[in-house]
Assembly symmetry: C2
Homo-oligomer: 336 residues x 2
């Protein structure tokens, strides 16, 4: 590494004090224009770049926030990450993206900030950790939680109304004339609560329509991977399970289901209407294209970033709970 140009070097070169250079760098108002020009010339000439690390040490602020996600290589999470980066950028904040791989210990590590001073705050979407575990860890870094878990009341939290989204989806299927609507799927070890809330809305809509929930229609899936979902659908079909509507917990499950149904000789939407979740690119170029619950990802990101910034700025008090909007994007797999 070439020897770094320091503030002091610029000051000496320009023949002024450190503070004056600092004022120029920070674009403070009260600097004589000619002084400013002289200092700027020295800065350019020497190629001075402020050392962020040093600045951080003294200000205590890093200008970075962390975004902890179960999986970054995932169509929903990568879109969400993009939205968070853009929202943070508006406030001059950089985002350090961390992947927890849906492992409890890595999720816990995010909260118990093993290393201090890396980031000013954390936006965290848990997958495995329970609200109890979250509440037990008291980090001194501000945290905003994302997603559907039953969150501890003490921490800020942003989500969409999953129960209502699920209800709207089921009602859409009902309106299409579906009589037997299955749910794909309940994932083993999913503690994030998404499934529970989505199932609640599913049950609620069924109830309202005077239908009873048949537990067999709630398909169990081994993991969050599309291949597990495909396997679950194929097994259900080969066991003779019948359904004419299928609500999927995400788009990956939906496209995997499409593939399973096709291989079984079933037509979508004629034999089975399918609805996905997340509104990812996967469902825009599948065949048929997928009707899907579309969470307002930018809305979620902005709410989360704003709440986090308020906390970083010292806001105290109990956790706030915000709902971001969603819509149902209607495509071929479950048309109007």
């Amino acid at each position: 590494m070439a020897k770094q140009v320091r503030l002091a070097d610029v000051a000496k070169h320009a023949g002024v004090s450190l503070k004056t250079v600092s004022n120029v760098v920070h674009e403070y108002k009260h600097v004589a224009p000619e002084m400013r020009a002289k200092v700027q010339a020295s800065i350019d000439q020497l190629g001075y770049r402020p050392n962020l690390t040093a600045r951080r040490l003294v200000t205590g602020r890093t200008g970075m926030i962390a975004l902890a996600l179960p999986e970054t290589d995932h169509p929903y999470f990568s879109t969400l990450a993009d939205a968070v980066v853009k929202a943070a950028e508006k406030h001059g904040l950089r985002v350090l993206i961390e992947q927890t791989d849906g492992k409890v210990d890595r999720e816990l590590a995010v909260l118990s900030d093993r290393e201090a001073g890396l980031v000013d705050g954390v936006i965290f979407q848990p997958a495995m950790v329970t609200s109890l575990e979250i509440a037990e860890v008291q980090a001194d870094t501000p945290v905003v939680l994302l997603g559907e878990a039953a969150m501890p009341l003490s921490i800020d939290h942003v989500m969409i109304d999953n129960v209502d989204a699920s209800r709207a989806s089921v009602e859409h299927l009902l309106k299409l004339g579906c009589k037997k609507i299955a749910f794909l799927g309940a994932v083993a070890d999913d503690n994030a609560g998404a499934t529970i809330r989505r199932l609640a809305g599913y049950q609620y809509a069924l109830d309202r329509a005077g239908l009873i929930l048949d537990p067999d229609l709630v398909l169990q899936v081994d993991s969050f991977s599309p291949s597990s979902a495909k396997k679950a659908v194929m097994e259900a079909l080969s066991e003779g399970l019948e359904f004419d509507g299928l609500l999927c917990r995400d788009d990956r499950f939906a496209v995997a289901a499409l593939q399973a149904l096709r291989e079984a000789g079933l037509s979508v939407p004629d034999d089975v209407a399918v609805i996905g979740w997340d509104d990812t690119e996967l469902g825009r170029y599948s065949f048929p294209t997928v009707t899907t619950v579309s969470p307002d990802k930018s809305g979620i990101a902005e709410l989360a970033v704003n709440m986090l910034i308020e906390r970083i700025n010292g806001q105290t008090g109990v956790g706030r709970h915000r709902l971001a909007p969603f819509s149902l994007v209607v495509r071929e797999s479950a048309p109007d």
Copy 2:
């Protein structure tokens, strides 16, 4: 922020010197076991966490590298990012992901490190910037380049052999019996050179088979978005262009093409065989599933991270140029 526990606090609590605590934290060999135990007890009791910023200031190392990509919300780049994060993790390095949005000025900003000391090095996949512009900016942060651009000889670089991958794809189509193979597509303002190399391989394979390249078969596309690609295919089809094979510059273009062909009443692979690029999830759940060029993303990531670490550790000399392997994943859209 709660008052931080410092090294000095631990030292006082344990009744030893700063250096001793530091030795324990760093797990140096030569510390008496009982001393180590005593200090560790104090660390745990006080909840001490080393302040990374302070450490950085003195060591000059940040333990972070940046990964600059045109677009993070993209199936290929998000998989690649994941691979880089995992490769970096093995060396105790964290990754700060930056999105350039394919804008020249943002790409240049990555190279001219406006802020010093944030990261120890940068892995950069350019999209718009030319090799000339890259060569002109002399950053003092080590850089490794990714992707297909005609890279400056002075900088380390990792890519797959695009010419050969393209050749292999075309030969696969030829073996299937395709007579008129189109290429989707040439994107306006694409300076990264991917298109040129892929076209070169396309032409080479055609030549070898004794076919001549018909310029009309190289479809022009307005942007990298799938919708542009779909539009290009639809227009070509409506203008009466005929082809029985289609090599696409990425999987997004491939699934968009699938949709366009289907809407035009053409069957894949019977009427047109389609090959994509990148081996993303998009092509695994499309209908039909997509035959695709699969770059070894982990291989690329590991090569890049290793080369970057060598540079960070002071290695000098001209740019090294490494090729990562690829394979052709055969699926339904262009079967064996």
